[in-house]
């Protein structure tokens, strides 16, 4: 547990913070600013979006008695009797699948494979009490939605990733408000595969933290079958060795079907 101080420090995921009644914890993380206030009877959460082009490297967190001006969006929650003034912030992956793209369309030759590393925006879940009851959650960057499918009748609504998938792990910008996912695409077909976009099933991914505090998800591998109309998708059981020793911070939003393998229409994965 941390004592409340008035100095600025770096925020930590899944850490128990203890506030005194009347105190406000202010966070600046990703493209949002969040104020969490503890009062005698209630929790108050305010948030404000920052300009979409901002790309902050760190998570600033301050505890003080200052409240923001009244024009911020306010949510109020009745306190439970045994919350012990505790609050915790848990990361969560996007509730909808996310469409990722390479910087330019990428051709994977027949019987070839490639690994793309992608950073996806996280959601912040604000949890109160020792049990961690979720008060609310908010995305840490403004995300636009997109449609992925063969036509406008059949398809899936997804989030559009704000960053490109990279071939080199070092090129992926590491931020406390993004999680890194390695995506392996194997082309078993007899002709090259032009990769323009890829549907990453973010709700199926759990979040893990390494010693440096970076968040990683298990790898996802997609195998394009020789049959042209389908591809099989698999979520690996653990994170890649390059991430280092990791601990589970947040489970996946949705459970994967038994066997951990998902066969889907080609259009639903590659658009």
């Amino acid at each position: 547990m941390t004592d409340a101080t008035e100095s600025q420090r770096d925020g930590v995921w899944a850490h128990q913070y203890q506030l005194a009644s009347g105190q406000t914890q202010r966070h600046q993380l990703g493209q949002v600013r969040v104020w969490v206030t503890l009062l005698d009877m209630e929790w108050q959460v305010r948030h404000e979006a920052l300009p979409a082009d901002a790309d902050p490297l760190t998570w600033h967190e301050v505890v003080d008695h200052c409240l923001p001006s009244s024009d911020r969006q306010l949510q109020r929650f009745i306190r439970s009797s045994n919350d012990q003034n505790l609050v915790r912030y848990l990361p969560a992956m996007a509730p909808l699948p996310t469409v990722i793209r390479p910087y330019q369309p990428l051709t994977i030759p027949a019987d070839g494979q490639c690994v793309l590393y992608v950073g996806t925006t996280l959601w912040m879940q604000i949890c109160a009490g020792p049990k961690g009851d979720v008060l609310t959650e908010l995305p840490l960057a403004a995300l636009s939605k997109t449609w992925l499918g063969a036509n406008t009748m059949a398809g899936e609504l997804c989030y559009a990733s704000a960053t490109y998938g990279r071939l080199a792990l070092e090129a992926v910008p590491k931020r406390p408000w993004r999680a890194v996912t390695p995506v392996t695409i194997v082309n078993r077909r007899e002709k090259p595969l032009v990769l323009e976009r890829f549907n990453l099933p973010t709700p199926l991914l759990s979040l893990h933290r390494n010693a440096e505090g970076q968040l990683w998800t298990p790898g996802v591998s997609v195998e394009c079958e020789t049959d042209l109309s389908s591809a099989s998708l698999r979520v690996e059981p653990s994170v890649i060795p390059a991430a280092g020793r990791c601990e589970l911070v947040a489970p996946a939003r949705e459970k994967m079907a038994r066997g951990g393998r998902l066969v889907r229409a080609f259009d639903h994965i590659f658009g």
Partner: protein
Amino acid sequence: MFEGLNASLTGVLGGIAWGPWLAAGFLLLLGILLGSLAARTAGRLVESRISRHHQVMMRRLVFYLVFLIFAMAALREAGFSLQVVLGAAGILTVALGFASQTSASNIISGLFLVMEKPFEIGDVIEADATIGEVVAIDLLSVKLRTPDNLYVRIPNETLIKTRVINRSRFPIRRIDLVIGIAYAEDVERVKELLLSLAEANAVCLEEPKPFVLVTGFGASSVDLQFSFWVVKEEFLEGRGTMMIAVKKALDEAGIEIPFPHTSVYAGSHSAPFRIQLVDSEHPQDKD
């Protein structure tokens, strides 16, 4: 006289065997009770797995099935032979067919509507110049709740005959805005400006891509069509916020949205009109 009437009435009432009739009535009541119970249970069992529309249909089917079995038992109890009833039903149908053409037509249209399934409960449809959310699909009619909270009943026959637009069948919808700009403006620049607005607006989908078309040269403006896609639930918000954003952006960029202009032109050979400003208190002669 009264005594005579009373005696004959007692004779008639006493002559009816009440036992079977009461049993038949009891069976009918039991049928209604058990039917609704079974329907509710069936509905609850499948609640999480199927849509609201199918749930309502299933509940109704279970109810009618149970009720029909009890009604048949009741008829038998009352002393009717089922064959006779079915035979009489044939003759009755012809008679009823003539007497209640509209109702029969609505019932048959209702069956076709259920089979064809152009819409489900909860969909927003436009039919017979009415827009509303479907709240019930019944034997004779479909009930809609309009956006201004009116309850509208549309006969099934009308729905079979007229054009019905289902506004919520597909998850995404396109919004087409018609924007007129002055002839003096650079169309390419306006096009870029509009596309950047679509990119900045969180409600607009990235794909299918938004686009701008020049649709015509109007009387006083170059007409553009600005099209972008939104999730069906965000249609009104998307339209409203984008209209405001377009007006604001065009104003900021100094691009004129013209109103109709009329130029009076007397031909190339005629002399210009002579215009003279006059003082309102001392009017002078004017051409």
